[in-house]
Symmetry: C2
Subunit: 382 residues, 2 copies
Amino acid sequence: MMAAFEGSKIRLGILGGGQLGRMLVQKAIDFNLQTLVLDPDPDAPCRDLCTRFEEGNFRDYKTVLKFGASADVITVEIEHVNVDALDELERMGKHVFPQPSVLRIVQDKGLQKEFYRINTIPTAEFRLVSGKDEIMTHVGMFPVMQKLRRSGYDGKGVKPLRSKEDIDGAFTDASVLERMVDFEREISVIVSRNVSGQVAHFPVVDMDFNPEANLVEFLYSPSSLNEKLSDEAIRIARNLIEKLNHVGLLAVEMFVTREEEILVNEIAPRPHNSGHHTIEGNVTSQYEQHLRAILNLPPGDTSLKRPSVMINLLGEKGNNGEAVYEGFDKVMAIPGAHVHLYGKRFTKPFRKMGHITITADTIEEARKKAKEVSGMVKVVSN
Amino acid sequence: MMAAFEGSKIRLGILGGGQLGRMLVQKAIDFNLQTLVLDPDPDAPCRDLCTRFEEGNFRDYKTVLKFGASADVITVEIEHVNVDALDELERMGKHVFPQPSVLRIVQDKGLQKEFYRINTIPTAEFRLVSGKDEIMTHVGMFPVMQKLRRSGYDGKGVKPLRSKEDIDGAFTDASVLERMVDFEREISVIVSRNVSGQVAHFPVVDMDFNPEANLVEFLYSPSSLNEKLSDEAIRIARNLIEKLNHVGLLAVEMFVTREEEILVNEIAPRPHNSGHHTIEGNVTSQYEQHLRAILNLPPGDTSLKRPSVMINLLGEKGNNGEAVYEGFDKVMAIPGAHVHLYGKRFTKPFRKMGHITITADTIEEARKKAKEVSGMVKVVSN
């Protein structure tokens, strides 16, 4: 990309100022980048650490266009942004990664599924319906997960339909009906691709979800999946990023079925919750890797430094208000525990308030410590 | 310290906004701290990433007093600050670490040497002189290093006096005459002590200096020093921090003589150039360890994650002006190379513009890569 690197002359615009943006900015400091962040929340986690923070709605055409006009490279930490504005910015010669074409696919779960079908990417069987009344014709497929084509984030916009009786309470908007997968585990592979097309992947990780919040609660790196299936998962993720022609990080969440099939579940074209552990656990973090990709630098070494377990710090149930962190000092006494708080002023039940990564010499040791740590810190209201 | 941690309510005031402050703030983000930074340079490396940046002179009494009044915990990234103001802030109930008493000793190389003598900390033989005319009476000690009692940073304020003839060109101010040490190597041990008195140490590292700039050029972690001498160095550093009663990090630079004696050379009561590699190379970084100490959290695990070599990126000779980084992309292609740029707009010969840490599975491999990387990036003017 460059003859000589002039970090401080590169203005990186980030749509979204949440925790993913925060950790991206935290890393961008090392490259001298100017970071511009757009978020509707004046108290957003990125507020104080970026070069310039702008309060505004990243779903609004004019706001995004104006914001992007002052940047050189534009990226996102959330996919629900105004893509028409990004199209226009691309036409103006800005570097926009993920590309608008990728965001259009990711924003619509229907297009996503069609994309998998066309490109023979393995995924759960599905049907598209434009409204509630069409669901009845697919009752033979039940049980299914109904997923709204638009919206849908952290398990929102998803409903199980097990029998005809459930249709009454189904979503009315255009959605995907997806055959329920009897999975043995959920895994994630984060891949990256730079402007020149160089692809790299992080080792496979295992994810444990909190069933109540439908959020990743524990993440284990490396996965205990056997080599054959790990290789297959990596192959699928690498194939997917190339077929998408995407530049940047792509997190690929997959199911491993009891029949040892691997099926793509969700994708995210940006840093992802399933890659937080890479800050301490891998030679290169996902945040650095995303920056490398969109600045067209060579991909970094993704290999493990140390096995790690990541725990999401979620707001305690029944607590709404200014956040305090009980047991913080206790966790700090656990060797290899790394606490990352997201700078969110207010907590609410299940809100992602931070995470803890525990690294150790072996994954067994990290798991043991994670059990100890889990529940030690509670995010409560003051 | 706390029943429940309220990171965002803690206002951490930092005197000095250079690269050490920058990396400290970068880590403080994870603890939700409010960071206030005082520096005379409106373009200081900390400018954009702290919660509030204040342009002002940290050597000025009124400026420091006013700045410190708006903080809860006050620390430094440079020791040449106004200590009288810190005294006053301490009386006002602010937490000031390093304590003014420690800073007074560190600011005066004469007091430092006297402190070592009183506490039987091994150090090179010395005499204090109040002016140039007293030097002649110590000519029997020659060759000596003349070190100004005040000032003196990165090898400034230091002059070798080898024979009577050199006295003409000697410093005229109060200084220390120190017997020249025929050392076999220079090492550093970084220790920390929290408010409750818990002491921890990082593994010993080897330092290679650039003779022309008198700056650390390469740093090797771990040191190849034998166990007996390493243990002795660690014992000295731990003893020193306890005798000083210091809270925070203390970097202890030492000589290992050809007779296998260990002598304390310089100390710094703050994060230090000889600890940059801990960001990637150790379980806990020196920056996090300093925060833990001054917030009275337990010390973190200091053990090695991976052997590492740190290279200072110094401004090229003959280059003055806006900095660009030649060869940046080449270094980024070396597995395990981590580049940290300091966000300094202007380069000048030997100015510290950034550093590169190379981690590898073995120190031999890290050394080999460091050789490859050394000279690959050049900081030049545009």
